[in-house]
């Protein structure tokens, strides 16, 4: 039997909201170390990788490894039926073809249980090599969301440049050009609001806004986001879920036009 109980059940709701626009369905792989998900969006341009550690759950039991294919829209719909303070339990029998989500109110006087059919999804897992990124940018997640939202009004793709001084986002479009510079934070008192750049060498890459916009659905999960870049390899956008794990998005860079 598989059972995972999370007192801070609201986090699961946020995790689902973070991926449901990008993925229609995906397989959750459960083992005694935790729950993982890896999937490409339908256009195969980006990849999502979620890791929820068993230690982050208040109760975690996974006797045999199992893979649960789920329609993520349905799963999100169900999780949206949980209240902010509900304790969420995910439960599945070993041979069953359904999964149950149980929401308990903190006073235990309301218990909701939703049962959803599992589906069999055949999907290849990609190996993600460990990379020593040339530039790692840490910034407030709301700031990243704002930059992406603002600039995406003016064009389809953004040029991200990381230098010692800071990070710059640029867009060109019919309506006009936009350009946002974030400087390294001098005063690092407020860690959550800091912009910190670890740089081995300056990097400039181009990405499609469409995907970045979908990545920023994870903003509510974490106060900070990390963008890791190296020339000619996919951008990694990571949101850390405190104590529980992380959600990572990978996005293939666009090839620069010659003109």
């Amino acid at each position: 039997m598989f059972e995972a109980r999370l007192v801070q059940g609201n986090l699961l709701k946020k995790v689902l909201e973070s991926v449901k626009d990008l993925l229609r369905q995906a397989t959750w792989d459960c083992s005694d170390t935790g729950i993982q998900l890896q999937a490409m969006d339908t256009s195969h341009v980006s990849l999502v990788s979620i890791n929820l550690s068993s230690e982050g759950f208040d109760k975690f039991r996974c006797e045999r490894q199992l893979s649960m294919g789920m329609n993520l829209e349905s799963m999100a719909k169900i999780l949206r039926c949980s209240s902010k303070d509900d304790i969420v339990t995910i439960r599945a029998e070993d041979q069953a073809d359904t999964v149950s989500f149980i929401f308990e109110a903190p006073n235990h006087e309301k218990v909701s249980e939703y049962e959803m059919k599992l589906m069999n999804i055949e999907e290849e897992h990609l190996g993600i090599p460990d990379t020593d990124y040339a530039a790692i940018i840490k910034m407030p997640s709301v700031e990243f969301q704002r930059v992406v939202r603002d600039l995406s009004q003016f064009g389809d793709s953004v040029v991200i440049s990381a230098t010692k001084e800071g990070v710059q986002f640029s867009v060109r479009g019919d309506l006009g050009n936009g350009n946002i510079k974030l400087a390294q934070t001098a005063n690092e008192d407020k860690e959550d609001e800091a912009v910190i750049i670890e740089l081995q060498e300056p990097v400039t890459l181009t990405f499609a806004f469409r995907y970045l916009n979908m990545f920023t659905k994870a903003t509510s999960l974490s106060s900070q986001v990390t963008l890791s870049m190296s020339p000619d390899i996919p951008l990694m956008v990571e949101y850390n879920i405190p104590k529980l794990g992380h959600i990572r998005y990978y996005l293939a860079p666009k090839i620069e036009d010659d003109d």
């Binding site: 195969h44 045999r64 893979s67 073809d97 055949e122 190996g127 293939a252 090839i255």
Partner: protein
Amino acid sequence: YPRKGKKTASRNEVTLVVVLSSRVDDVEKFAMVQRPKTGLLANLLEFLSVTLASEDIKDKEQIQCLQDLLESRKLRAQKLTKVGPVVHVFSHINMTYVVYKGEVESGSGDDSIKWVSELEFEKCGTSTAMKKVFKSLSTKISEKESKKRKRTESSDSNQPSINSFFQPKIKKEKIKLEDS
């Protein structure tokens, strides 16, 4: 439904697949056959295919192999062209489908052949593997046609796929197996 995690060693197989099309009443239809009533993917429709002893046979031989297959089903293809390989990972088999396509020259096949339109294909009971095979075909076609179309998100030639950066994990394991 929950499945056991895949940790056991997987077998590698190569299968030739032919997506044979025919225009019936101005609708393009594709030849499919039904799988046996028992076993893996029981009853599902699939394209005509033949499993190879080895991947190391020439294209010409592959085509001959497929023509023989078609003839056994009372079909004859005008010309068969290679589309490319499609990899699909079953629980214990890493299957490489070598996909060919062609148009019917004559014959509508024996009773085992079902002619299925693209719409019907999407709705009928078929396996994920066959869907991939079929998709590989339309990808090629759409790549050809994309230059005519207005630039859209999906046909943005400057946007590479993430697949061109990250390799399927299974291949790694394959290599390991071969190493050992």
